[in-house]
Symmetry: C2
DNA sequence: TTATTAAATGACCTTTTTGTCATTTATTCA
DNA sequence: TGAATAAATGACAAAAAGGTCATTTAATAA
């Protein structure tokens, strides 16, 4: 479905959110372990998410990653768009550059409704909503 | 959605089928041109599809690729499975190794129905059904 | 103020995907 | 038969994705 970087980003953020809810700020080591993702690659991704405003971090003892409690929780789609761009919505099963209602590929009409369902799911679920319903990270 | 190889394979097969319906057997050059795919990569993919029984070919003057008229047309899913394996059905939005009803990721329940819709589309549409309704390749 | 902890940073490496090319083999037709 | 045509084959190369590592910077606490 998504590339590895996006998957790790989603799992990391959900794990961080779940831990934040318990008053904890997990570090890279813990996050990578809990989400079963490569340690260093996870560090790179977390850094990226922090630079783009999806995460906050603190250095030094007791430091780690956390999510701004003031802002409303970001949607899964927001994270996906940040990490791998808009391609979910422009993606065509047939691989056409500009597949649209005007120039549809032969699967277009059937695919649009599926893509809309996907978009609906990804934009209504948030990091917080997933953190609250995923016991494995709590 | 799919990788490049799969996209080129689908477009090539639909183009070949559409041309076959007009009594023609297109060659690599023509197929790559019509489907806007790289010439040599297309040749490699066509060869692969021929070896795995999805295409027939003839060498020499007047030669080219064609699809067995005796067999029922293969589904889009058949082609996808051949080129990139089963991963469409095991794919988890969250990237979990064994995401299932028993061990669901937090998006599992919402995603399964979307994946089923996708599977339904890909298994009911065939190379022939697409060839017949895609004027661009006729 | 120094040792410790943990994130920040950037260079680098590996694997997979994507794409190219030269040569060989088979077929057709004059 | 031999010239032309077109697929078969396998080696190679480029680009993108995935992943690692060493060093630096910042914060904390003894």
């Amino acid at each position: 479905m998504f590339n590895k970087e996006t998957e790790y980003a989603l799992r990391s953020m959900v794990y961080i959110q779940a831990q934040n809810l318990k008053g904890r700020k997990p570090g890279v080591e813990e996050i990578a372990g809990a989400t079963e993702a490569p340690r260093h690659f996870t560090a790179k991704i977390l850094h990226r998410l922090a630079r783009s405003g999806f995460l906050l971090s603190s250095k030094g003892k007791g430091g780690g990653f956390f999510i701004d409690r003031e802002k409303p929780s970001v949607s899964i789609l927001d994270v996906v768009k940040e990490v791998e761009g808009q391609k979910i919505f422009s993606g065509c099963v047939f691989g056409l550059k500009n597949c649209s209602n005007e120039h549809p590929c032969p699967l277009h009409s059937r695919y649009v409704s599926i893509r809309e369902s996907l978009g609906e799911m990804l934009s209504t679920e948030t990091i917080l909503s997933l953190a609250m319903k995923y016991p494995a990270y709590q």
